[in-house]
Amino acid sequence: MSTSGFSGLFLLRDRRIREVAYQVVCIAAVVAIGWYLFQNAAANLARQDIATGFDYLSREAGFIISETPIDYQPSDSYGRALLVGLLNTLTVALLAIVLGTVVGTLVGIARLSKNPLLSRLMLAYVEALRNVPLLLYLFLWYSAIIFTLPPVKQAIALLPGVFVSNSGLVVPAIVWHSGFWTVIAAIAAGVVAAFAWRTVATRRRIATGKAVPGWPVSLTLLVLPFVIAIAVFDIRFEFDWPELGRFRLTGGAHLKPEFVALLLGLTLSASATVAEIVRSGILAIGKGQREAAQALGLSSGRTMRLVILPQALRVIVPPLTNIYVTTFKNSSLAIAIGYPDLVMVSNTIMNQTGQAMEPIALFMLVYLGLSLATSLLMNWYNARVALQGR
């Protein structure tokens, strides 16, 4: 700082220049370091004859992926293999998010139960999950599944056609001969119609103060399109019953132990954190709200569902976003127990092509996109919840 008696204007100019200089130097340093690293990498790649670029994406992958939500053969390209990996990541992470939220909310409410036994038990649940690394749990769940369940030859038949063994859970599958999309459309139409009726009914009840038939009409609307579809259209399907073959259970739909262990790990881990958030969210709602609701004669279940939770959502949703983003990122631990997610597929590609930079950059980009998308979606939802609260 200038200590001489120059005018304030000069001093200001001086500071501005300094600020600009700071920034220029800073950016220059970042660019220089980046350029330096880039030069090194380029030289190293050239010296070691390592291939670069994204040409590999269109080459034949040649390896098998054990779980493929879309059709995939070893003769397909690396690009398609990556897509399969991405879909697997999305499947397991989204399922874990939904299940984790449901379980976590229940645990969070139970944590506040007046019954000390229940609340302590739930505390133990949360502490056990939060104080042990997720990766360790994944190894533990996976080992527990494959070592404690019997091999497939001695599979336990839970129900006719439902088998559980250390090779996973097998249930009968439905094979559609025709009319699959008709049925889907009918179910969707039913859900939309029932939901629409409920909204209309609630509005009318609030407007007129008269009771409007709610669930009987909803139920009819829900089932009707389905019945019509079956009556009118040609719908044929049959069950594919699992059978014990020479080695494996053939037929039916399979839930592999790798998937189950990962889903279990992610769900439990998310549920413990959700529980803590829900708990603090509920505690943030004033005692008066609960007392007022009880004074109106609402049962404690309805108080929770209609009064407390909707308000608590405003406190709950922002930290929930963090958990959802974390769950997406945690799903990358799939590699440890052999579930073919994006990272595992990328890793195999790295092994096969010898190219490391491109696959890593690619999956980092995907996770960045997923994190961003989750944040945006949750911000949008948060804005909605916040508005309703007013």
Partner: protein, 364 residues
């Protein structure tokens, strides 16, 4: 990667009032529904106790050979005693294992002492400055008659502690600077900081570890190599810095503007008021969430297993490869590791709650 989730809500959770009332029998058997809940909980507890006791004690093998364990359906305690040293210290030379043992003991002792707020002083800091080189010397050797042990042979619990502690100590200043940069008035600096923080927070730790272990060597000039351990350590530091930055930022933003204005009015320079006035106050408020973050990072260091470092989880896993014990004591190994992680994490969690209370009392 569980870190993010750990950081925020811990302190909210603590604010909850203790369970009100509930001392009498009515808390357990007040209403029919409550009675059912109590009975269900009791049944669950009884079942868990029965399984635990029969596995850990009744059916367990306390003394014997792998064959005894194979024949038994209970826990296999001889496995733990046979493999304890390997699980704790990995492939560190066997005769030299007193060194990591001493180092770990000293470290835990020093941490315990440092946990007492009354003892926080310059002397404590000085103690650490002296202790760290001593610990490094103990581990690495090469002087005072200690045989040299390369980092490639470090492993087990000391390695996990080191990755966590060094990671956080180095990440803290970096995180503070990033937080300041993010709140800066200068757009270029702000954008750079935001980019770095959001980039790192948006990707899984495993991808950063992959990058460090596979890609980093490519970015080094010809002939310069960084060893595997240091590469992972750098990855953890950068990762931790981004998360610390966000916590520190929250602390900075929570400070009343008056602090800055008063300091400026006194004629203090930016660096002076930032480091003498703002940062000390901000740090004080964020200590409890920082400790929660540390718990998360302690657990996250297990991910180095995936890039092939012998941290504690990985030594527990590779111990299972012993031909004599193959497939016999898998659950025992993992449960032992879980117990160790649980004890350390739960202690840190309890400490975080203590600090929370301590500081609140201080301010009220």
């Amino acid at each position: 990667m569980s870190t993010m989730a750990n950081s925020g809500e811990e302190q909210i959770a603590i604010r909850a009032p203790a369970q009100s009332g509930g001392l009498g029998a009515s808390a357990y058997f007040g209403t029919p529904a409550n009675t059912i809940v109590t009975l269900l909980c009791l049944a669950l507890l009884a079942l868990a106790a029965k399984v635990a006791v029969s596995w850990l004690v009744i059916n367990a093998v306390f003394d014997g050979t792998p064959e005894d364990c194979k024949a038994s359906v209970g826990a296999c305690w001889p496995y733990l005693t046979a493999k304890l040293r390997y699980m704790l210290f990995g492939i560190y030379p066997f005769e030299e294992q007193w060194r990591p043992l001493t180092a770990t003991a000293l470290f835990i002792l020093a941490i315990t002492i440092s946990c007492i707020p009354r003892l926080w002083s310059r002397w404590l800091l000085l103690g650490w400055v002296v202790l760290l080189p001593v610990l490094y010397l103990l581990m690495a050797g090469g002087a005072f008659g200690l045989a040299e042990v390369p980092t490639s042979q470090w492993g087990g619990l000391p390695l996990s502690f080191m990755l966590t502690f060094v990671g956080l100590v180095c990440a803290l200043p970096l995180g503070i600077l990033l937080a300041l940069a993010r709140l800066s008035n200068l757009p270029a600096i702000r954008i750079l900081a935001v980019t770095f923080i959001e980039l790192v927070r948006g990707v899984p730790l495993i991808s950063i570890l992959f990058m460090a272990s596979v890609m980093l060597p490519l970015f080094m000039p010809d002939g310069v190599t960084i060893d595997k351990l240091l590469r992972a350590q750098v990855a953890i530091i950068l990762f931790a810095a981004a998360y610390i930055a966000e916590i520190v930022r929250a602390g900075l933003q929570a400070l009343p503007r008056g602090q800055t204005e008063a300091a400026q009015a006194l004629g203090l320079h930016y660096w002076q008021y930032t480091f003498l006035v703002i940062i000390p106050q901000a740090l004080k408020t964020v200590i409890p969430p920082l400790v929660s973050l540390f718990i998360g990072f302690f657990q996250d260091t297990t991910l180095v297993t995936i890039v092939g470092l012998l941290d504690f989880l990985n030594t527990v896993r590779t111990a299972l490869r012993d031909p004599n014990w193959q497939g016999i004591a898998v659950l025992e190994g993992y449960l032992f590791a879980a117990a160790v992680y649980f004890v350390f994490s739960a202690l840190m969690g309890a400490y975080s709650r203590f600090l929370e209370k301590h500081f609140r009392v201080g301010y009220d």
